[in-house]
Symmetry: C2
């Protein structure tokens, strides 16, 4: 029973990876770098994108693919910045899934103006578990972790913290009002993903947002690894 | 393709409900009331249980079944209060699932001292999507929503907010430090689950925790609906 389940899961992930490679080929053909941005609900993914994209990013043309179970609240916020945003809902047709997978992203690609972009940020569904299991054809995975969530999150959701090349620690402005030990969070982070790049920011005050913009810029400009 | 997927999901939920009924019969036989407690990661489920259970609950014997992908960090916190806690991990044997289902709960029941309890709180995996889809045999579902997560969460995760009989709004002590409109959250809550019972609390300061304790007490003492 257990072995059968493992096999089914492995087959599903194999199928996902095949489609992820097809997405990646499309991104490569259009010379678009892609970030898969993940976090728990309410950690501040959209707020950080609003901050980063409020002013032009050194000539880099950025678009967003906005993943949500339903609604277009985040997409509407970003569209107000005149950023090309495509909404991808997991509710109709995908059973209200708690994550994006390669096939869902593929189904939305016809709506994404790839030939007008240098960088595409895919904002995943707010969830610290399943999004980490599904590659969607991205170059790099990043996550946002808010200090209000507690120091223990890397230990409780290690796959997510291990999957990412960048961990953005957000809501730093709230530190004086929390019983939260930042050193302990970073210690736990190093326990599951030693030395992973991290960034301390506040989307609310703008602290650290320059580094976040620089990181996005570097992703857009870096030599792309072979698919 | 889509219809097949819907059928598979429906069959899985049917199977889940059959096992949930078996769990419920076990709870009934032992006269144990059961709360399924859900939230996003870091909203404060464990902190609220620590607050509620730090002192005896008017003679009600409370136990906790602690659901996590891996680790026993929350269970350890609660065990320090001398509350009987059973750890249920979704990682080994269940593929690292992002939610508890009836079968996982069933697999843990042999470890739960039902004949020594009046109330069992099942702390679900931190996730605003899938936990709402799976009944586990509980009497009542409650969720914790933290004010740091933003006012839009009921609109973005409506199934979760609709599934619950109680919404505990936590981290109220942080309100002065946030750009957060509490009325807007409650308006959005009423938009998806009109009139649902809500409670404004701070696990950190203890504000509102008496009402939370009273609610748990009332669940433990109420006439149980037929399974």
């Amino acid at each position: 029973m257990h072995r059968t389940k493992v096999r089914v899961v492995e087959d599903a992930l194999d199928a996902n990876n095949t489609i992820a490679r097809a997405n990646r080929e499309d991104f490569d053909r259009h010379h678009v770098s892609v970030v898969n941005l993940m976090s728990a609900p309410g950690a501040g993914k959209t707020a950080l994108l609003e901050r980063a994209l409020a002013e032009p990013l050194a000539g880099v043309r950025v678009g967003v693919l906005e993943g949500d179970v339903q609604g277009s609240y985040d997409a509407d916020r970003l569209a107000a910045l005149h950023v090309p945003v495509t909404q991808l809902n997991t509710d109709p047709g995908f059973g209200g899934e708690c994550h994006l997978d390669a096939n869902m992203v593929r189904s939305a690609l016809a709506e994404v103006p790839l030939d007008e972009l240098d960088l595409l940020v895919i904002e995943n569904v707010g969830n610290l578990v399943c999004p980490a299991e599904f590659r969607v054809g991205e170059d790099v995975r990043a996550m946002v972790c808010s200090v209000t969530e507690g120091e223990d999150k890397p230990l409780k959701y290690p796959l997510m913290f291990r999957a990412c090349e960048l961990v953005v620690v957000n809501k730093l402005d709230l530190l004086p009002h929390l019983d939260f030990d930042l050193d302990k969070l970073l210690y736990n982070l190093d326990a599951v993903n030693p030395g992973v790049e991290r960034m301390l920011v506040s989307a609310r005050t703008g602290e650290g947002v320059d580094a976040w913009r620089d990181w996005l810029l570097a992703v857009a400009q870096r030599e792309r690894a072979p698919a």
